[in-house]
C-alpha cells in the first residue's frame, strides 16, 4: 500500500468549506482603537481545529494587536472573540487555553531552560515528577536534549527560539500564537524551522496562528492565510488562491510580483473577456465575471513568471506585445527582465525567466527588441 504523503492529507483538509465544521476561534466584528489609531477594524474570522493559519501584512497593519486580543492582553473596543463557541472577551490572559510565542521570545533570564519550560506547568500545580517528564518530552521535541540546565543567555538565537516554542507548547494549548517566530533567524535556519514547525503542528494537532510579514513563509507553512491592510482583513484563503486569484490590487501586489495594466472592457464573449489597454492593445483573458460590464474600467494583473519572452514574434493567437529590454536582474534561480512596452513613455513590465542553463548561455541582452506573450489563462481581472 502506498503511504499517504503529508501533502495529500493537507489537500483534503478544508474545514472552512464545510458548513458543519465548528470553528475553534471566532472573531465577530472586532475593532480595536488606540486613541486616534484604529489598529484593528471590524475583523470577522474563523479558525478551525488543527488549522495552520498565517496572518500576513505590512508593518503596523495590526497583526500583533489582533494576536494580543486573542491572548487577552488587549480588550476589543467592539465585537466579540469566541473560543469553542464561548465568549472569552472578558477572560484574563492566565485563564485562556491559548499560549503565545513572543516576537522577542521573552524567556525568563533568571530561570534555566528547564525552569522556563516548566513555568506554565508549575502554575497548573502538576506534580513534580509529571512536570519533569513533560519538560524532558518538550526538550526532546524541539531537539534541545541536555541543554535544560543552561540559562537563556548561554544559548544561540535559534536555540532560544526553540525554548520559547517549547515553553508555549508545554501547556498543550488549544491554540498556539506565534508572533514572527523566525524574524531573528538567518535564512537557512528559517527554512529548516518552517518545516519543523509544520511537522510539529501535524504531530500535535494544535491550531497554529502565525504572524509574519514574510510572504514566502506564510505561503510555505499555512493551510490558509489572511492578508491585512490598515487593520482590515482584505482576503482570506489558501495560499494558492491568494496568489492566483487575489481579491484586489493591494493583495496582488503584496503577495508576489505582479504587472498591472489599466484598461477598459471591450467585449465579453462567454468566458472570454477582451480588454483594451492603451499600451499593449487588446488583451484577452479567460475569466468568468458576470459583474463585468462593457466599457467599465478594469485592471489586469499579470504575474512575471507567466510571461514568455522571445526575439521573434510568436505564432498563434496568444496575447503578445513588442518591447525593448531596459534592465536585467540576475537573482540566481530566476532572472528578472524589465521590458519597456508601448514606446519610451510606455510601461515597464517584469518578466521572470527560469535559469535552466548556466549564465554564459544567456539569450537576452540589454536593448534587445523582444516580444512578450502570454496565454489567455495567465492574466486576471482586478477591480480598479
Amino acid at each position: 500500500m502506498r503511504k499517504a504523503s503529508p501533502g495529500s492529507l493537507r489537500r483534503a483538509f478544508q474545514p472552512w468549506d464545510d458548513t458543519n465544521a465548528k470553528p475553534i476561534i471566532e472573531f465577530r466584528g472586532v475593532t480595536k482603537r488606540f486613541g486616534a489609531v484604529t489598529a484593528v477594524c471590524d475583523v470577522s474570522l474563523s479558525l478551525y481545529p488543527r488549522e495552520f493559519f498565517a496572518l500576513l501584512g505590512p508593518s503596523g497593519c495590526g497583526k500583533t494587536t489582533l494576536m494580543r486580543m486573542l491572548a487577552g492582553f488587549e480588550t476589543p473596543d467592539e465585537g466579540q472573540i469566541l473560543l469553542d463557541g464561548v465568549d472569552i472577551t472578558a477572560v484574563p490572559p492566565h485563564l485562556r487555553p491559548v499560549n503565545m510565542m513572543f516576537q522577542s521570545y521573552a524567556l525568563f533570564p533568571h530561570l534555566s531552560v528547564a525552569d522556563n519550560i516548566a513555568y506554565g506547568l508549575k502554575r497548573e500545580g502538576l506534580p513534580r515528577a509529571e512536570i519533569a517528564r513533560r519538560v524532558e518530552e518538550m526538550l526532546a521535541l524541539v531537539k534541545l536534549d541536555g541543554l535544560g540546565r543552561r540559562k537563556p543567555d548561554q544559548l544561540s538565537g535559534g536555540q532560544r527560539q526553540r525554548v520559547a516554542l517549547a515553553r508555549a507548547l508545554a501547556k498543550r494549548p488549544k491554540l498556539l500564537l506565534l508572533d514572527e517566530p523566525m524574524a531573528a533567524l538567518d535564512r537557512k535556519l528559517r527554512e529548516a524551522t518552517q518545516f519543523e514547525l509544520m511537522d510539529l503542528q501535524s504531530k500535535l494537532g494544535t491550531t497554529f496562528m502565525v504572524v509574519t510579514h514574510d510572504q514566502d513563509e506564510a505561503m510555505t507553512m499555512s493551510d490558509r492565510m489572511a492578508v491585512m491592510d490598515q487593520g482590515r482583513l482584505v482576503q482570506i484563503g489558501p495560499p494558492d488562491v491568494i496568489y492566483e486569484a487575489p481579491a484586489n490590487r493591494y493583495v496582488a501586489e503584496f503577495v508576489g510580483d505582479i504587472n498591472i495594466l489599466e484598461g477598459r472592457v471591450a467585449s465579453i464573449e462567454g468566458d472570454l473577456v477582451k480588454v483594451e489597454t492603451g499600451i499593449t492593445g487588446t488583451v484577452e483573458l479567460d475569466e468568468e465575471r458576470p459583474t463585468l460590464a462593457i466599457g467599465a474600467p478594469v485592471l489586469i494583473g499579470l504575474r512575471p513568471e507567466k510571461i514568455e519572452l522571445s526575439h521573434d514574434e510568436p505564432a498563434g493567437d496568444l496575447n503578445k506585445v513588442a518591447g525593448e529590454i531596459w534592465d536585467i536582474g540576475y537573482l540566481g534561480d530566476v532572472t528578472m527582465v524589465q521590458v519597456m512596452v508601448g514606446g519610451d513613455q510606455g510601461q515597464l513590465l517584469k518578466v521572470a525567466l527560469t535559469n535552466r542553463t548556466r549564465r554564459a548561455a544567456r539569450p537576452f541582452a540589454w536593448e534587445d527588441q523582444v516580444w512578450l506573450s502570454w496565454d489567455v489563462e495567465a492574466g486576471l481581472v482586478l477591480p480598479p
Partner: protein, 262 residues
C-alpha cells in the same frame, strides 16, 4: 586621555583633602592612646574597649540599628510599590501629584519635614518614641527607594510579565516569580540606601523622637557638647565603616543589575 595641568591637580588635591582629611584624622585619633584629642600618644585600641562599657552609647547604637532596619524595610517596600505605580500604570489621574508627593521629602529641608511631622504627632496625640522616628525615616527613605527602583523598572522588558501571564500566572504570582527576582538588586540597593540615611539622620530624629528613644547620632551630638572624646571618635569610625559597607554593597548590587540587564 586628556592630561590635567598642575593647577587643576592642585585644586583637586586641596578639595579632596578638605573633604577627607578630617575623616582620616577622626579615624586615626580613634586609635590614639592619649585622652587629649589633639595630642598623639601612641597606638591603642583602648577606646574601642571602653566603648563596649559605655552602656548609654551602646543602647543608642542598638536602637539606631533597629530603627534603620525597620524604616529601611518599610521604605524599600513602599518605594517599590510607588515605583510600580508610576512606571506601570501610565498616566493615571493624579500621577504628577503622586510622584511629586513621593519625591518631595528628598528636596524638603529636613527641619521642615521634622517640624511638620512633630506637629502631626502632637496633634494626633501619638506617644513619641521608636515608632514615630521609624515612620519619619520611612517617609523620606521611600522617596530615595522609589527613584532607585523606578530606574530599574524603566528598562524592564514587559513582555516577560506578559509571557508569565500567558503561561497561567495571576498578576500576584507574576510579580513574585518574574518581576521581583529581576528587580531585586535595585530593591536591595534601595534598602541599603534607606538604611544608611536612617542611621545617620540627626535632625528629623531629634524632632520626632520622645523620651527613652535616643538614637546614636543624637547621643553623639549631645556628648560632643561636653567635649570631643576619643571614645566618640571610635564610635564614629565604626559608623563610617558600617555606612561605607552599605553604600559599597548598594553600588555593587546596582552594577550587577547593569551587567545582568545588558
Amino acid at each position: 586621555m586628556k592630561r590635567l595641568g598642575p593647577g587643576l591637580i592642585l585644586a583637586l588635591v586641596v578639595g579632596f583633602a578638605f573633604l577627607y582629611l578630617p575623616i582620616l584624622a577622626l579615624v586615626a585619633y580613634s586609635f590614639n592612646a592619649s585622652r587629649l584629642v589633639t595630642v598623639w600618644g601612641g597606638f591603642s585600641t583602648h577606646w574601642y574597649g571602653s566603648l563596649l562599657s559605655n552602656q548609654p552609647l551602646l543602647d543608642a547604637a542598638w536602637l539606631s540599628v533597629r530603627l534603620a532596619f525597620v524604616s529601611a524595610t518599610l521604605a524599600a517596600g513602599l518605594g517599590t510599590l510607588a515605583a510600580l505605580a508610576l512606571v506601570r500604570h501610565g498616566r493615571f489621574q493624579g500621577r504628577l501629584l503622586f510622584s511629586g508627593m513621593v519625591l518631595a521629602p528628598l528636596v524638603m529641608p529636613e527641619v521642615i519635614t521634622g517640624l511638620s511631622l512633630l506637629l502631626l504627632f502632637v496633634a494626633a496625640d501619638v506617644e513619641r518614641g521608636f515608632w514615630t522616628v521609624t515612620i519619619a525615616h520611612a517617609t523620606f527613605g521611600l522617596g530615595f527607594a522609589c527613584i532607585v527602583v523606578q530606574a530599574r523598572l524603566a528598562g524592564f522588558d514587559r513582555s516577560l510579565e506578559e509571557a508569565a501571564r500567558d503561561l497561567g500566572a495571576t498578576p500576584l504570582v507574576t510579580f513574585w516569580t518574574v518581576t521581583l527576582p529581576l528587580i531585586w538588586p535595585a530593591v536591595a540597593a534601595a534598602w541599603m540606601l534607606a538604611f544608611t540615611l536612617s542611621l545617620d539622620d540627626l535632625v528629623i530624629a531629634s524632632f520626632t523622637t520622645g523620651p527613652g528613644a535616643t538614637t546614636l547620632p543624637m547621643r553623639l551630638y549631645s556628648a560632643i557638647r561636653l567635649g570631643v572624646s576619643p571614645e566618640i571618635n571610635a564610635a564614629c569610625t565604626l559608623m563610617i565603616g558600617a555606612v561605607a559597607l552599605a553604600v559599597i554593597s548598594a553600588s555593587l548590587l546596582l552594577k550587577r543589575r547593569q551587567v545582568a540587564g545588558s
